[in-house]
């Protein structure tokens, strides 16, 4: 198999792994080798099978066939305990934190530190041991914080800290940075470098190719459940990775607006939220432009979007759509006005995972596929099929549960829900979180199309490449306030970060 | 197939074990019949009535029933009576088309209990009653009979506490009365399990003998307490006879012999007062019946 005799023995080998789900072949004969101390990036489009492969390695699911060889010992399948015992730590793509426990308890869950004659939990020792881990990932919360109070990004940092706490030889990170902003991502890169220096191997999954380019020693690309190829350190480049992932080149991210800027569509005036009740944010979105909203973790962007969409109450200020006050008393009223939100957490708020794809697409607008209160199955399906074709949702049929789709395809279903209606203004909150480059480009194209059609587009994003690459104007939030706005000419990572952090 | 006779009771209770013994005895003497003794799943008239529907559907030839709610089951009774001969026991529904009633009078039993009280408490007293279902016919009649008998004798039945046949609550009701009403010096247990709970509560509080207790039915604890002198007395019915005579009555009726049915349709098996003097004889008789 591997040709080189002079290489050290591989740490682990995933040998001819196959995995089938009812209706899907997720993995087909995948063989991957991991060497000690290397950073192996695993990339591929949504649904390529990356998470599935890692779950097999993490002992969460069993392969249909194939072997897992660790230290020369072959296993047909692993249990979570076996996997952990073999020194494999796993940062899951879906966040697996417990919001009824505190940070330290989460980090040491399953491996609690004990003391005393009865082996009771040693809370103090765990908190003490957790603090350095939190420092390492640059977390601004303490080990005694209740997880219920953490934002999505903070929870992601917690997951990384948890993986570090394991005495691991391999750390799997399945999209650890999907909610992280530049600052935390930089910390993460440093963490990876540290691990590498200690001889710990890292399997890194990300759709942010910049990060991959920055940290990977080797890249393996999955496509449709099979290995599409690999790249050595020297070969790694954006273009090369994209070519392997989607089999063709990709155009530049940014397309300029096709028409001059129109009138103001959405206008926020002194909007105040409960987390930062003294900070007021004012911003506006004009027809024809894409407004990017940047900020550090917890800057209050999601909160702002949810308040405008009618989920949470505003504590002050006004919201106008096309110059007239917008009724933001409930999502129902904002949806009726044509203001839509693509939420940050699609598992929790974007989709009804246990419902069929077609149900999800018509969820917000059943009225138009029904007559006299009764739903027409035919119209429901026609509408879903239309979106499936338009967005390229990868699925055997639209009657499948949304839960069975990969993350990216799930996001497309959320988009399909809104695009099949009459948008006036769409707020995208982290629209490409966990989405592959191919789909990302599609989504950017869609946003641009919407803007060109006169729909207001606001894009909240923590992905710097994306904010800079896609927006026509960037508004930076800091602790609930608008710290400043940048026009295209002034775009740079440095400028965005300066505003986000505050000029101290 | 042998003709089938069924005896349907109103709820699961030890009291009916005696009737069941009577039915067993009758079965020995009536080999040509198939005798059934049925408990409903719960003590509600609705369930009893659908149990009777099912029995008729399954080919039963005559039924004797102790209804949980005879007054309001007239139509259900008439529906059954139109198909098979129907008899009532324990509590009657004279307005229905039942053939006859076999049992005792709860009012008379209440009066007898009142008389025990009058005899034991010549100086008057304040009584507290305990019962399972406050609204059930037998409870209402016994309470009324008791009140009637003590009327003007200086004895007052202050209140009756219900417990829904939850033994735990039956016990804690007594405990609570002992704690909350120190002026109570007489207690009446209207359902068979109430007197034992009174006994246990008094025993725990060290008040056995200080409070006069009047009981109903023949729970072993009750009889023991009567023998010991802790209880003034108990009023017993004779469910054994209900089961025994009832089956013979129905068998004869099916054979065409209607002489057992009096003109007024009432066959009263008298209730007895058991006190210290006759308790031993009574218990011996009971043992013989259940053992045999």
């Amino acid at each position: 198999m591997t040709s080189a005799q002079d290489l050290p023995a591989p740490l682990l080998v995933l040998d001819s792994i196959c995995k089938t789900y009812p209706g899907v072949v997720a993995l087909r004969d995948v063989t991957i080798t991991v060497m000690p101390g290397e950073v192996l990036a695993l990339i591929g489009e949504n649904g390529a099978g990356k998470s599935t492969l890692m779950k097999i390695l993490g002992g969460v699911i069993a392969p249909s066939s194939g072997r897992i060889i660790i230290d020369g010992l072959a296993h047909d399948r692993l249990s979570v305990a076996q996997s952990q015992g073999a020194g494999i730590a796993f940062v899951h793509q879906e966040l697996n934190v417990f919001d009824n426990l505190d940070v330290a308890a989460n980090i040491f869950l399953g491996r609690e530190l004990r003391s005393g004659p009865f082996g009771l939990v040693d809370v103090r020792a765990m908190r003490a041991a957790a603090q350095p881990l939190l420092d390492r990932v640059g977390a601004r919360f303490g080990p005694a914080t209740s997880v219920a109070e953490l934002s999505l990004a903070e929870r992601q940092l917690l997951e990384i800290a948890k993986a570090l706490s394991l005495d691991a030889r391999v750390v799997i990170m399945d999209e650890p940075s999907s909610s992280l902003t530049l600052k935390e991502t930089q910390v993460l890169m440093k963490v990876i470098a540290d691990l590498k220096a200690q001889g710990i191997a890292v399997i890194y999954i990300s759709h942010r190719l910049g990060e991959v380019e920055h940290c990977a020693d080797r890249v393996v690309v999955l496509r449709d459940g099979q290995v599409a190829g690999g790249l050595t350190r020297a070969e790694i480049s954006h273009d090369a990775m994209i070519r392997l992932m989607i089999g063709r080149d990709l155009k530049a991210l940014y397309t300029p607006p096709a028409r001059p800027l129109g009138p103001v569509i959405l206008e926020l005036e002194g909007v105040r939220n409960s987390t930062n009740p003294n900070a007021a944010a004012s911003l506006s979105v004009r027809a024809g432009e894409i407004v990017g909203v940047a900020g550090l973790v917890g800057a209050g962007r999601t909160e702002l979007a949810e308040a405008v969409f009618g989920i949470t109450r505003l504590r002050g200020g006004s919201v106008k759509l096309d110059g007239a006050p917008l009724d933001i008393s409930s999502p129902r009223s904002t949806i009726a006005a044509g203001v839509y939100l693509v939420p940050e957490d699609r598992k929790r708020t974007g989709l009804v995972l246990e419902s069929a794809i077609c149900e999800n697409i018509s969820m917000a607008d059943l009225g138009s596929v029904s007559s006299r209160g009764l739903v027409s199955e035919a119209r429901l399906h026609a509408r879903a099929e239309a979106q499936r074709t338009r967005l390229g949702i990868k699925t055997a049929d639209v009657d499948r549960k949304a839960a069975e789709l990969s993350g990216g395809n799930q996001q497309k279903v959320v988009l399909g829900k809104w695009l099949s209606m009459r948008p006036r203004m769409i707020i995208f909150d982290e629209p490409t979180r966990g989405i592959d480059v191919g789909a990302k480009a599609e989504i950017y194209r869609l946003m641009r199309e919407l803007a060109d059609a006169g729909v207001g587009v606001m894009m909240i994003s923590s992905d710097m490449e994306e904010v800079i690459g896609v927006s026509d104007r960037i508004v930076v939030l800091r602790e609930g306030e608008v710290a400043g706005a940048l026009d295209r000419a002034d775009f740079s990572e440095h400028n965005v970060l300066k505003l986000a952090v505050g000029a101290h | 197939d042998k003709p089938q006779l069924a005896f349907v009771v109103n709820a699961a209770s030890d009291f009916w074990k005696l009737a069941e013994a009577g039915v067993k005895k009758a079965q020995e003497e009536l080999p040509g019949y198939d005798l059934q003794f049925r408990y409903p799943v719960q003590g509600t008239a609705a369930l009893q009535n659908s149990l009777m529907d099912d029995l008729v559907a399954a080919g039963t030839d005559a039924i004797m029933i102790s209804s949980a709610d005879p007054k309001n089951s007239i139509d259900a009774f008439n529906k059954i009576a139109a198909q098979v001969p129907l008899f009532t026991t324990d509590s009657d529904a004279p307005a229905s088309n039942r053939i006859a009633y076999l049992g005792s009078s709860n009012t008379a039993a209440g009066v007898q209990a009142g008389e025990i009280a009058v005899k034991a408490l010549p100086d008057g007293a304040k009584c507290m009653g305990f019962v399972g279902f406050l609204g059930a016919d037998n409870a209402v009649e016994r309470i009324a009979g008791f009140r009637q008998a003590v009327e003007g004798k200086g004895i007052e039945l202050v209140d009756v506490r219900g417990d829904d046949v939850d033994f735990g609550r039956a016990r804690s009701n007594v405990d609570d009365v002992l704690a909350a009403n120190p002026d109570i010096n007489c207690m009446v247990g209207f359902y068979s399990y109430n007197p034992p709970k009174i006994y246990e509560a008094l025993q725990a509080a060290g008040k056995l003998g200080q409070i006069t207790v009047i009981a109903f039915d023949e729970d072993p604890i009750t009889l023991g307490a009567v023998r010991e002198g802790s209880f003034a007395g108990t009023v017993v019915q004779d469910p054994y006879q209900w089961g025994y005579q009832g089956m013979h009555l129905m068998a004869k009726y099916l054979e065409g012999d209607k002489s057992g049915v009096p003109a007024d349709g009432l066959i009263i098996v008298p209730t007895k007062v058991i006190d210290k003097d006759n308790v031993d004889a009574f218990e011996a008789e009971l043992k013989a019946r259940i053992g045999g």
Partner: protein, 332 residues
């Protein structure tokens, strides 16, 4: 009819056939009519319970509601001589208010459904018992109400009207749950309330509506029960009926986590439970074992259904795998 319902139907038929072999009177018209009547009575409020369970909630108060509203109905027409259509309206209005109260407490004050309806269970029964002073509410001797009786305990061509009422309600509820926009919203709310809200569904209104539907069907059932028993003993009437309703729904494929279930399923569930009751009486099994038989059959039924579903899924997966290999060898 969904596959899950089919399994239940098979179970019902098998049990029925076994009983028939042991006692052919099981299929006699009179026994069928008696059982159909009970199925109708229990089916009515089991369907209502289905709507609540669909939202991921539960309504423990139905047994007590049947007692309280039964007392109300009997007193209204029996004691106060209120015309029966008005009495029915009053009872259903009272039920609606209770359902509304449950729904509002659950959605607006964010209380747990279990708590709210547990309090309902206690309060309604308490009020019924307190109001009557534990006495049984019944009609005076000889009182007849021909129209109400025809509607409730009457029969047409031997079919009890309660059964027909359940079928009618079943059809309407089937359309509501499986074909209407409201039904879709109900499924969505049951599966993921947050996501439903983010899609502009008025989740609170949907949940409240479910509790109101349950309460309305329960009040109709209360009228049927009151006319069937012709009297209501407030301390025992309807005891444990909530468990019957929930058991019927669960047998019928509803998940207590919400978002799953069908109307046909819950009606079949109610049918099976009554078949079991009938079986105990017909086969002369001691009534004391009634509960045990019922429990054992529910357990076995749910278990068999589940194992069968899993088996089928595994078969399907295997078939796919084979197809996948074929595809590969063809490509290779």
């Amino acid at each position: 009819m969904q596959k899950k319902d089919l399994g239940l139907a098979v179970l019902i038929i098998v049990v029925g056939f076994v009983v028939y072999l042991r006692n052919p009177l099981f299929l006699s018209p009179i026994n069928l009519a008696n059982t159909a009547n009970l199925i109708g009575l229990f089916g009515l409020f089991a369907i209502g319970q289905g709507f609540v369970i669909m939202t991921g909630g539960i309504d423990l108060s139905v047994g007590s509601m049947i007692a309280l509203l039964g007392v109300l109905f009997v007193e209204l027409i029996g004691k106060y001589g209120v015309p029966w259509p008005l009495a029915m309206l009053i009872v259903i209005a009272a039920g609606t208010v209770m359902g509304l109260a449950h729904g509002l407490l659950i959605t607006k004050l964010k209380m747990q459904p279990f708590v709210v309806t547990l309090c309902g269970l206690l309060i309604y029964r308490g009020v019924a018992r307190g109001y009557t002073g534990e006495a049984t509410a019944g009609f005076p001797f000889g009182a007849t109400f021909p129209e109400v009786e025809w509607l409730t305990i009457g029969r047409s061509f031997g079919v009890p009207h309660s059964f027909i009422a359940m079928l009618l309600v079943g059809v309407i509820c089937w359309v509501i749950l499986h074909r209407s926009v409201f039904g879709r919203h109900l499924y969505a709310v049951g599966k993921n309330e947050d996501a439903a809200r983010y899609s502009g569904i008025r989740t609170d209104a949907v949940v409240i509506a479910a509790y109101v539907i349950c309460a309305v069907l329960t009040s109709i059932a209360a009228i049927y029960f009151a006319m069937f028993t012709r009297s209501v003993q407030p301390s025992s009437h309807g005891n444990f009926y909530e468990l019957y309703a929930i058991a019927a729904a669960v047998l019928g494929g509803f998940s207590l986590r919400g978002g799953e279930g069908s109307i046909v399923g819950v009606m079949l569930g109610a049918l099976l439970l009554q078949e079991l009751q009938n079986l105990v009486n017909l086969l002369g099994i001691p009534s004391s074992l009634n509960f045990a038989v019922m429990g054992a059959v529910i357990l076995a039924g749910v278990l068999a259904d589940q194992q069968f579903t899993r088996y089928r899924e595994r078969q399907r997966a295997r078939a796919m795998e084979l197809r996948g290999q074929d595809g590969r060898s063809a490509a290779g």
